[in-house]
Each structure stands twice: as structure tokens, then as C-alpha cells.
Amino acid sequence: MSDSTVTAQETAGSAQAHHGEHPPYQRHHFESVEQQFDTTNFAMWLFLLTEVMFFGGLFMAYLLMRNWYYPAFVEASHQLNIGWGTANTAVLISSSFTMAMGVYSAEMRRKGALVFFLVLTFILGLAFLGIKSIEYSEKWEKFHIPGIRYSTSAFTNPQSDPEVYKEYHDKPLPPDMASKTELYFFLYFAMTGMHALHMIIGIAILGFMIFRAKNDAYTTGHVTFVENFGLYWHFVDIIWIFLFPLLYLISRY
């Protein structure tokens, strides 16, 4: 495998450098900054693999239930506001862009730009959560909180919900199929909730990073943290890229 020769070359190269002359951010068990960067990058990718498999279980459950109770899932998904969903998708995609620009700024050692883009990403992340909370509170209003405050009346009698009925003219569901809409909402809250939890953690770390970025932590050559966080942020974006069509776009015709 090629990475062994890379390691050898790096080590051979840095063996010429004296022991004490490595940058302060290089940990002692690494032979070079490149090795440290490569290693932590690879580690972050492996962590993202664990996240893929973690969400995988939820996607499997969703796939199964959607297949078994398709009519319920269609009508339940009509309850989601496609405007908010699309807006959220656009917000997250833009935040991925600003995050990537942040990484670029760190690599170009431009502190002002880095802080600017990190703050933008932070704001866009908050905007996403804000829209999510609007959607969640709407679910609360309409008695679509499964297990706690739930009513199938919007599905057994679609005309009782004029806003949605106007758009989709859903047929009334028989009671046993209507009860499966609760399953849809459980999966909706579980999947978007798990995603939102990851967003919250990401935003918290972003806050920390903005503070550190202002103190030149990432613009003196040590971009690892920003780059690896960027990977995490893009991953959270990818999860939403799949959640959006699966939850919102089941069938709107």
C-alpha cells in the first residue's frame, strides 16, 4: 500500500529537522505535521462512517414502514410544509458552502475571512434549527405529536384540515391505516430529531471555533480542526439531503 512509502518519505524528510523544531501544535507521537494532519483527517472519516451506520438503522426502519403503510405515509407527509422543508434544505446547503469557504480561508491564513464564514455558518445553522422549531410547534398545534398529543382526525377526515385538503385532496383513510400515520410521525421526529441533535452539537463546536479563530488558532498553518469539523458539517448536510426527499417529497401529486 502506498501510504507506507509516504510515511517513510515524510519521516526521512523530517529526520533532517532537529527534534525541537516542530511547530507547537504538533503532538509528540507524530513525526511531522503532515502525518498529524493525515492521521486526524482519516480518523474523522472513520468517525463519519460510524455515523453513516448509526443513521442506517433509522433509514432501514423508515424504508420498511413506508413500504408497508404507503398511503398513511403519503397523507402524513402532506402535513409537512414543503416551503419550510425546501427553505431548510437551501439553508443547510448554503451553510455547507460557507463552511467550505471557511476551510479555504483557514488554508489561505485569512483570519477575517475565516471568522466571517464561520459566523455565517453558525447563523445558517441557527436558522435551520429555528425553522425546525417552527415546524415542530406546528405539529404540536395540530395534534401530530406521536405518543403524547396525537389525533388521526386529519387523516380519517381530511376535509377537517382545509389548508392541506385544498392542496392535495387526500382521500379519507380507514382507521387502521390512519393509525399508521403515527408511525410516520415517530420516524419523522426520531430522524429529524437525531439530525437536529447533531446540528446542535455542530453549532456548539462552531461557537467554540469562532472564539478560537479570533485568537489566530487556525490561521497559522494548523487547519486540522477546521477541516475535520468541516467534514462533520458536510456529513450532517448529507443526512438532511436524504431526509428531505424521504420525509417531505413522498408524493405531492
Partner: protein
């Protein structure tokens, strides 16, 4: 047993433990609790898993005591359910999964690849703390009444029909799972990125290959267990319904997700043990492992194939016949790489200079008992036989043969083999050989009757059983008491050896491998300078040349 031995110790009258080593580098509790040194973390892990091993062992003792009589007279059936559940949970998640990787693997892998530490020392420490937190949660669960679902948490029993501490156990395992993930992640990164100059993949010791394969399983499989446990918790708290037929869910979905991890988990448990056996068999036959490439690739093959066979735990649960067919065929496939390894070890022994020190005794035990356990696995993989044998004591015997007769013996083999490197002292050979033999005898008495019990039809997880099964159960319990002695002895003499054992020197076994070229116990940074690997793995000629050079250059 011949008196021949390869042990070469330094002159005891003048030998001293090196003053500067990883144990003496810093003192004080915080230097241990905040350490980044992989060897100290390995030591912390060793103490923790030994603690949990004895709790799990005590629970096993209670099981065997109850099963002495056909009636459920020692404890109520519900209590018995709690006992075997906790035995399973503790032994699987708190002992077997971290056993070799977190202790021996943590200790050795940086040294074996020629690095100063693992790639992510802080993540390593976090991994231990997660293990400890999970351990506390498990102990809390036991103290507050336990859980009685069986370690497999089958739905809908665990979600709808029981009122025991499923949630806290589930969360404890969730945390322990992340401990495992971080260990595996660290290993993969270290093995890819931190090999010393000259250390190509095919010069790595096979122990590293095995741990690498196990680490892939840890990283890719454990998260699925994590989400499954989250779903169980959600099912029990909020009533989410994915596993509830009344709400439209499918209880079998739980089993698919659970076994998607838990089958690779058994390979997580056994692969590092197989790595130990490769090292031990080579050293004690003074021969390079036969078919290095085959053994290396078969480790990875076990990992990959292991992801495709999980539904063989579900043959009678209601999956479709076609799925049964597919998974049964794939299960036959996965047995092949394991068999390849046994063949390779056997051919390593052939025409080798074999000696019978304790690690080798455990390795022989492993090879015989794992073969039996593995073959019975093939019997169970055939769905026709599985339908009759599943959920009987045949299964119990099968997995104890591979896990206890296999993995635990490999663990003990590894502990004895690397004890001199870890502590600088040798364990007492005679009593340890006795303990190995006692363990082997006790093991066979305990678990072989269980194969017969299973074929006769005794179901597993029953506190009361028909009286015609009593004789074999008594045999099994008698064996268990012998086995218990066999496991207690190492605790005693290994602790004794810390103070009174012979000084081991760098390489008491005349083994190849980078870890044996440094002092015992090693320095905190492992090597004064990063080594350069210029020879193949298990290169005994290179070792001889080294020794001749050392003698000549006094």
C-alpha cells in the same frame, strides 16, 4: 511434558527492572487518570475487565448452582432470568469485546508498528472512561434489580412485556459500544498512518492484522447496535411503535438490526484472540507462521463475510424461507477463513521445535476447542439442523466453546506471553501450567455435556428442566467449579509475580517482533528512536543474527 524450554532469562543476581519505564515515569493518581500513554491505558483496562470478568463469573457460578437440580429451587425463575441476562451482558460487552483489543492490543499495537503511541491518545483515554461509565451503569442496573430479557433483548418481550431495567442496561451498552468504537477507530488509524519506515503491510505481525480486521467490525458494526438500543429506549419510553405489531411495527426488525452488529461482534471477540495465537504458535515452534498472506487475508475475509450472515440467529424467528436459504449458504462461506487459520497454525507446528510453556498450552487448548466450537457452528449454520438445535443447550455449548474455550484461552495465552514485557517479571511457570491444564479439564467437563443436553432437547434459559437432564447438568456444574479454580489461580500467581517474579529482561521468549527488542517494561515513548524495519515478520534468522551481534559486541 519435556523439560525443554526456550525461556532465556538474564542473570537474576544482577538483573534489575529498568529504572525508567512507563510505570515509573510519573507518579500519582492523576498521572494515571489523565494519561495518554497507551500502555497505562491498557493497564487500566486490564484491571477493569478483570473486575467485570469476576462479576460475570460469579453470575455464571450462580447459574450452574441453580442448574444442579431440576427444580427452580435456588432462585425464582425471574431471578434466574436476571442472572443469565447479566452474565451475558457483562461477559459479552464488558469482558469479551474489549478483552484482547483494549488490553493487549492497546499495549502492543503501537510497539508492533514501531510508533510512539496510538494515533489518538486522548480518544484512547476517552474510550476507557466510557467503559468505566458504562460499567457503573451496568452495576447500577444490577444493584437496582437487574434486567431479565436475555442479553439479546428480543422484542416484543423487552419492549412490552417486562418491567425490568431494560433502559438503563440498554444505555450502559450504548456507552460501552462507543468505548469499543473509539478503540477500533484508533487502531485502524494507527495501523494505516503510523507504521515506522520499512514496516510494510506484509511485515506486520499477524496480531496487528487480526486487530485491524476486528477494528473494522467495531467501527462499522457497533453504531448499528447503538441505534437499535436507542430505538428500544424510544419504544419503551415514548412507544414509538417500530417494533410493536399493534402499531404496525415489526419485532423482527429489532432482531435484524441487533444481529447486524451482534454477529460481527463475535468476530470482534475472536479475531484478536486468533492474532494472539498466531504470535504464540510461531514463537513456541520457533518457526514463521505458515502462509502469512493466507492468515492475513483470512482475517480480513472473516471481517467482511461476517457482515453478511447475521440472520442465522433468526432462522426460527419468522424470516422468509428464502432469507433462511441465503443466510445459511453465506454462513457456510464464513467458516472457511477460520478453518484456513487453523490449518495454517497446524502447518506452523509441523516440523517446528515445539516447547510447552504456559502460553503454548493455552494456544493448544484454543486450537482444539475452537475447532470443535467452530465446527458446531457449521452444524448450526445449516438451517435444517439449526431448527432442532437452536435455543437449546447446543447453542450454549457452541458459543462457550468458541468464546471460553477459544477466546478466553487466547486471552490468557496472550496475558502470559506478554506479561514479562508488560511488567518486567516472569510469572511462575509450573503453577501456571497447572492452571492451564486445570482450566482445560474444567472447561471440557463444564461444556461438553451441554452439547449432549442440547441434542437431547434441553432448552436454554430455563431455570427448571425435566429430571432426566440432571446427571449431565451435575457434571457440568462440577466442571464449572474446576474451571473456577483454573481462573482464580492466575489472579493469585500473576499478582504474586509482580513482586516476586523472576526478572524477565528484554526478550525471555527469544521472540521476533519489535516489542521484544525494547526493555521490559517499555519506556513511555516505547523506543528511544523510531525503529527502521528491515526484515520480514517472524524472521528467526534475523533474530539469531541480532543475538550473535550482541554477543560479539560486548
Amino acid at each position: 511434558m519435556s523439560a525443554a524450554t526456550i525461556v532465556t532469562l538474564p542473570d537474576q543476581s544482577t538483573a534489575r527492572i529498568p529504572k525508567m519505564n512507563f510505570l515509573t515515569k510519573e507518579n500519582g493518581l492523576l498521572s494515571w487518570l489523565l494519561t495518554g500513554d497507551h500502555k497505562r491505558i491498557a493497564t487500566l483496562y486490564l484491571i477493569s475487565i478483570t473486575f467485570f470478568f469476576f462479576i460475570g463469573g460469579a453470575l455464571a457460578g450462580l447459574i450452574r448452582l441453580e442448574l444442579l437440580t431440576p427444580q427452580s429451587d435456588l432462585m425464582a425463575a425471574d431471578t434466574y432470568n436476571k442472572v443469565f441476562t447479566m452474565h451475558g451482558v457483562i461477559m459479552v460487552f464488558f469482558f469479551l469485546v474489549p478483552s484482547v483489543p483494549a488490553t493487549i492490543g492497546n499495549f502492543l499495537i503501537p510497539m508492533m508498528v514501531g510508533a510512539k503511541d496510538l494515533a489518538l491518545p486522548k480518544v484512547n483515554l476517552l474510550s476507557w472512561y466510557l467503559y468505566v461509565v458504562a460499567g457503573f451503569m451496568a452495576i447500577y442496573t444490577m444493584a437496582s434489580g437487574g434486567v431479565d430479557t436475555g442479553w439479546t433483548f428480543t422484542t416484543p418481550l423487552s419492549t412490552h412485556y417486562l418491567n425490568t431495567h431494560v433502559i438503563s442496561t440498554g444505555l450502559a451498552i450504548f456507552v460501552a459500544g462507543f468505548s469499543s468504537i473509539f478503540t477500533g477507530l484508533n487502531f485502524i488509524v494507527t495501523i494505516h498512518k503510523m507504521r515506522c519506515p520499512g514496516m510494510t503491510w506484509f511485515r506486520l505481525p499477524l496480531f496487528v492484522w487480526s486487530n485491524y480486521a476486528a477494528s473494522i467490525l467495531m467501527v462499522l458494526g457497533t453504531p448499528v447496535l447503538a441505534i437499535t438500543l436507542v430505538l428500544i429506549v424510544l419504544e419503551r419510553t415514548v412507544g414509538i411503535g417500530v417494533f410493536d405489531p399493534a402499531k404496525g411495527g415489526d419485532p423482527l426488525l429489532f432482531q435484524h438490526l441487533f444481529w447486524f452488529y451482534s454477529h460481527p461482534a463475535v468476530y470482534i471477540m475472536i479475531l484478536p484472540g486468533m492474532g494472539v495465537i498466531s504470535e504464540v504458535v510461531s514463537t513456541f515452534s520457533r518457526k514463521r507462521v505458515f502462509g502469512y498472506t493466507a492468515v492475513a487475508f483470512s482475517s480480513v475475509a472473516i471481517a467482511v463475510f461476517g457482515f453478511f450472515v447475521w440472520a442465522h440467529h433468526m432462522f426460527i424467528m419468522g424470516i422468509s424461507n428464502y432469507a433462511v436459504l441465503v443466510f445459511s449458504l453465506l454462513t457456510m462461506l464464513v467458516a472457511v477463513p477460520s478453518a484456513i487459520k487453523i490449518f495454517n497454525w497446524a502447518f506452523t507446528l509441523y516440523k517446528g521445535s515445539i516447547t510447552f510453556e504456559t502460553p503454548m498450552l493455552y494456544a493448544f487448548g484454543f486450537m482444539g476447542l475452537f475447532t470443535i466450537g467452530g465446527l458446531t457452528g457449521v452444524f448450526l449454520g445449516a438451517s435444517g439442523t439449526d431448527i432442532h438445535l437452536t435455543e437449546t443447550y447446543f447453542i450454549v455449548a457452541h458459543f462457550h466453546f468458541v468464546m471460553v474455550g477459544g477466546m478466553l484461552m487466547a486471552f490468557l495465552s496472550g496475558i502470559h506471553f506478554w506479561w514479562p514485557k508488560w511488567t518486567g517479571r516472569m510469572y511462575p511457570e509450573k503453577i501456571s501450567q497447572l492452571a492451564a491444564v486445570v482450566t482445560f479439564i474444567g472447561f471440557n467437563f463444564t461444556f461438553f455435556p451441554q452439547f449432549i443436553l442440547g441434542m437431547l432437547g434441553m432448552p436454554r434459559r430455563y431455570a427448571a428442566y425435566p429430571p432426566e437432564f440432571q446427571v449431565l447438568n451435575v457434571f457440568s456444574t462440577a466442571g464449572a467449579s474446576i474451571l473456577g479454580v483454573g481462573y482464580l489461580l492466575p489472579i493469585i500467581y500473576l499478582t504474586w509475580s509482580l513482586k516476586y517474579g523472576a526478572i524477565a529482561g528484554n526478550n525471555p521468549w527469544q521472540a521476533t517482533g519489535l516489542e521484544w527488542q525494547t526493555q521490559s517494561p517499555p519506556l513511555t515513548e516505547n523506543f528511544p528512536e523510531i525503529p527502521i524495519m528491515d526484515h520480514e515478520a517472524y524472521d528467526y534468522e534475523w533474530l539469531e543474527a541480532q543475538q550473535r551481534k550482541e554477543v560479539a559486541s560486548v
